[in-house]
Homo-oligomer: 638 residues x 2
């Protein structure tokens, strides 16, 4: 039985320090191996490297010409050239060794050949001219690189020039990664049952370690059992230079990592005041560092990045450069706990040349959205959050140029936005898209607040029945935004193939025993639902599942396909992907709202060019369910 | 016979553009292959990647607790708890699929267990609380990444989460590297004869290509013969995606690259207005790009970096980030030709928080010094150079933090400076050393001009016979510098083992038929020579080789060891490395001059700590020929 113990909440800097010092005391250190210089790119020297020979290793001619003794040419000038006999000079090519009793080379272009092998010179030579002297680059015994130097391409050249064909390097440490959990299956399992949790953290961590100059060995998944986990830790600690155990790092019923470590080695610290990532287990098994990371991918990534990366230099001797930080204006307030240092992912866009950071929603399990984040900023442990408009230091996760070249799209979700991104990429454009699904109202607000360049909107004016135009008039009474005609879409009810519940209209949903899956507040699709309910005198209270919110058409379709819900409102293309039946309800207009300033932006022009391309029409046709009359035209708001 | 043709001098930007457009017209493009996601780090997607399944792929409990239908708890409060029978809820663990007819999870901590399996709840549950909904992270059909996206660790996670275990990636192009030249031998040949030129450019280029996401195949060295080179080019173009030929790229007697290309494929351009690197050959063989690079390593590196890297995206589809540029104040003027865009290597140091760039000497053949450069700045084609104090944009070759943490040492050469660097590195100090051999006088001037933190000096006051003190008085009459006691060294004549020329004194050099090798102007060793000559009433004109200048003690020793000179003046440790005989002449004092401001600098303190360490004494003892009385003490200049 696992005894429940509360986790500590040690501040991050203190935790890392305690961990590092304990590991040093335990004798954690790097290994050394001899490696070939030609395959040494990015490796670390373990000792100072000295030249074993001079480069060049002999005095060589640096030109094609003749070698001679300079003093024999002294006094030569245009008016009184010096003539030399054929035994006073020797023909020489670039790279040839300097013959004895010569100390300079005269270029072939400066020589006039005469009869009998004589030559004539119109100017005097200077001793050692055009000679590459022995050791000109480096002399035997000179230090080429001190200990713990990263080997660059030119350093490979310098080592070879100095006759160093192999040298002692820091061994690349091998890190054991042990995934645990009863429900865990391999991340690339072809078929998954409900309840199977595919394990892909090991692949993420392996890649991170590879970027940090370490390698990894992923061990088989271990079931939640103290003895099994302990045995796996002991085995791994004998075969590897550090051990990472994934999941079970907290202090709950099935969390065995800390106790397994205690019986296999030494627990240094359990619980760090960061969010996500709090239940980290820091320890050692003899001279082998140990880390227990939480099972959620983002928690694990943060613990690897913020804790493990700081002790890894004990094994790699590398200096990890601080990632590029960038100041940006926060687009939305974030609320944070006083108990933890919090890590907030965000998207960055450049609006009117100012960097704007839009915090991203999503729990610690959403690795896909993490992969799309531009960067991370932190809220200190003693702070309750950051205000809107406050400036934050964002650690970039993408190259700055990519962020600078991105159109920041905030608004209603439609797969066509991703397709435009791909069209831009394939066309070789620098411009890319960074898009946030915030619903039509979210898009309007973001553009109004200068937090986005453009957004997709489909907002029905329930009085006029008109799409988009009248809403823009309401929210931009004094102008400031341009409306561009997008596509017509068919909204309808997505139901299981064959429509077993025989749903034909919204009325059926209210009356039958079915569960609905809705979209988030502010989304055009939800507003459409409310409008249609109202028209039929139905109440949202009659719809079971009205409060269940999803953020995309495909997420709604997925819920229906998995029978987690019986029906949801969405677009035809989403229904098609999930092979669902589709009951057409309404034709709507999905347009693009662009801030007036952004309309002149080169990136937005690229976006609109892609929108107007034949390629785009072709893709919409494949997606199905779109009409594209007047696509790309400016709509007069009037 | 090779017909001589003059090279063009096309401006760089124009040349790259012509080259790229010609290659595009020739149909140069990338290949596609299917690769496994788990080994896809840093690879490029060749097409947009869509999720093949939802993540999570089912609705899962996010907590340990009980699953139930939220509406059954409505109304529960502290004062009126709701009781549920055992058939109204189902026990559930984190990750378990949500049972049918349940829509939320209540945490185990919030449940009071009663008799007969009943449970009591003191607050109402909200539908979908503690549930990880299907597709919460990503839904099937959503685009995870567009075309030409670099795969990061978190993107590997996102692909696996979306069920993408393999995908179509851009094939890593294979670049043929063909070294040419009659005198060329393999770079790691164990024994070298005079006239052998070891070939290590291929290793440098291979490493550069590897950093750029390409791989290479180094072909055997080809002799300077048109037919052989042509055949090698044709063979390589069939096996690889691009062909690089090293050396022979100019238009001289033995330069066959351009003509070989013309007979194997198409010459696009020959000669680019850059220095070094002018004689580049740009062309194609069918759909295979061709590049001829000059034989000198630095010329080759510049051509690879400035030309090849710009056409490589045709094959890799990568976007190469611009290297970090940094503004620095030029410490010394540079003179440049109006004919070329020139690339000047430099060292960067931070003096009084200002970045100072010191241009480095050295021909295009000196790869070791290139490897030590902090960065490169350029002088435009239409400029005659840059003035001292002018600000230059330096493209960094080292991490900025390394430059910020470096002590800039300019002065007299002694191997002990490199040893101090290694002591710092081994001790885990962030502080490093960037040293320039400029002689004692060079050091004094650099410190006076705020271009260095400190320098080693050994300057004899020929009147008083005193070392350093009186010179400092002369050059720093109003203070501004601190003199720290360094080491005593023995200067002497280095001669071939066994002293075959029987040299015992300077007099012998003047009288006998021997050749001397001197040090550069301004060096303490040369000043000592002049002093000793003067004392013996000898003239420099009597010394054959007096004008032959080397920059280090080891370079002088190397010249003697290679019998390129008979004798040179230098320190014992250098003579020992080359196993030379040593005739003691003078005991001198080698001290450290430190600018007064730098004396308070943390980096300089680290330097002085290393100077005062036992480790340093041990290393000096091994080097031999040093005394260390009062080492590290401040010398009163008075």
């Amino acid at each position: 039985m696992n005894k429940y113990e509360y986790l500590k909440n040690t501040p991050l800097a203190e935790a890392v320090n305690i961990y590092k010092e304990a590991l040093k005391s335990a004798g954690v250190t790097y290994n050394i191996e001899t490696i070939k210089t030609t395959s040494a790119l990015n490796r670390m020297t373990a000792k100072a490297v000295y030249a074993k020979r001079c480069s060049p290793h002999y005095c060589a001619s640096a030109m094609d010409g003749v070698a001679l003794k300079a003093e024999e040419t002294f006094g030569a000038s245009e008016s009184s050239p010096v003539k030399l006999n054929k035994n006073s000079y020797i023909s020489i090519d670039t790279g040839d060794p300097m013959p004895e009793n010569t100390d300079c080379v005269v270029m072939i272009e400066d020589i006039i050949e005469e009869e009998n092998g004589k030559i004539k010179l119109y100017s005097a030579a200077v001793p050692w001219q055009n000679v590459r002297k022995i050791g000109e680059d480096i002399s035997m015994g000179d230090m080429i690189a001190p200990s713990f130097t990263t080997v660059t391409p030119s350093l490979i050249g310098a080592f070879l020039a100095g006759g160093v064909y192999s040298f002692e390097a820091v061994t690349i440490p091998k890190i054991a990664i042990i995934p645990t959990g009863d429900e865990i299956v391999k991340g690339d399992s072809e078929s998954l049952n409900d309840g199977d949790v595919p394990e892909f953290n090991s692949a993420i961590f392996s890649a991170m370690l590879s970027e940090w100059g370490a390698k990894s060995e992923v061990f088989p998944v271990v079931k939640d059992e103290l003895g099994l986990i302990k045995n796996a830790i002991i085995k791994a600690s004998k075969e590897c230079d550090a051990v990472i155990v994934i999941a079970g790092s907290s202090a709950g019923r099935d969390d065995y990592t800390a106790n397994a470590l205690k019986s296999a080695g030494a627990l240094i610290l359990h619980g760090v005041a960061i969010k996500p990532g709090k239940p980290a287990v820091l320890g050692s098994i003899g001279k082998v560092p140990f880390l227990g990371v939480p099972g959620y991918p983002i928690s694990g990534i943060i613990v690897m990045e913020e804790i493990f990366k700081y002790i890894l230099p004990l094994l790699t001797k590398r200096v990890y450069e601080k990632p590029l930080e960038f100041e940006a204006k926060l687009a939305r307030q974030t609320v944070s706990s006083l108990k933890y240092k919090e890590y907030i992912r965000c998207r960055i866009g450049f609006i009117d040349k100012e960097a704007v950071a839009v915090p991203m929603e999503g729990a610690a399990g959403v690795v896909t959205r993490f992969a799309k984040a531009s960067g991370i900023f932190t809220v200190p442990q003693d702070s309750e959050g950051k205000r809107r408009g406050e400036s934050v230091n964002v650690r970039l996760l993408k190259p700055l140029s990519e962020l600078e070249n991105s159109v920041l799209v905030v608004g209603s979700h439609d797969p066509l936005i991703d397709e435009i991104d791909d069209i831009l990429k394939r066309g070789g454009s620098k411009t890319g898209i960074s898009s946030n699904h915030a619903g039509s109202m979210g898009g309007i607000m973001a553009i109004k607040n200068h937090e986005a360049h453009l957004g997709g909107i489909h907002l029905l004016d329930t009085k006029s029945g008109e799409y988009n135009k009248s809403c823009i008039k309401t929210y931009f009474p004094n102008g400031g935004a341009v409306l561009i005609r997008g596509v017509g879409r068919t909204q309808g009810l997505m139901v299981e193939k064959g429509n077993p519940k025989n749903i034909k209209d919204l009325k059926d949903i209210a009356e039958k025993e079915v569960s609905y899956v809705n979209r988030q507040r502010g989304s055009g699709t939800r507003i459409l639902l409310d409008f249609l309910l109202d028209k039929q005198n139905l109440s949202s209270a009659d719809i079971y599942g009205y409060t269940r919110e999803e953020y995309t058409h495909t997420a709604v379709a997925a819920a229906v396909a998995a029978k987690s819900a019986s029906v949801g409102l969405g677009i035809l293309s989403a229904a098609k992907i999930y092979d669902l039946d589709f009951i057409e309800l309404y034709s709507e207009q999905y347009d693009f709202l662009i801030s007036e300033k952004a309309f002149e932006d080169e990136r937005v022009k690229d976006f609109l060019n892609a929108l107007n391309s034949n390629e785009f029409i072709e893709r919409l046709t494949i997606l199905d369910g779109y009409t594209f009359e007047s696509l790309g035209e400016i709509i007069e708001i009037g």
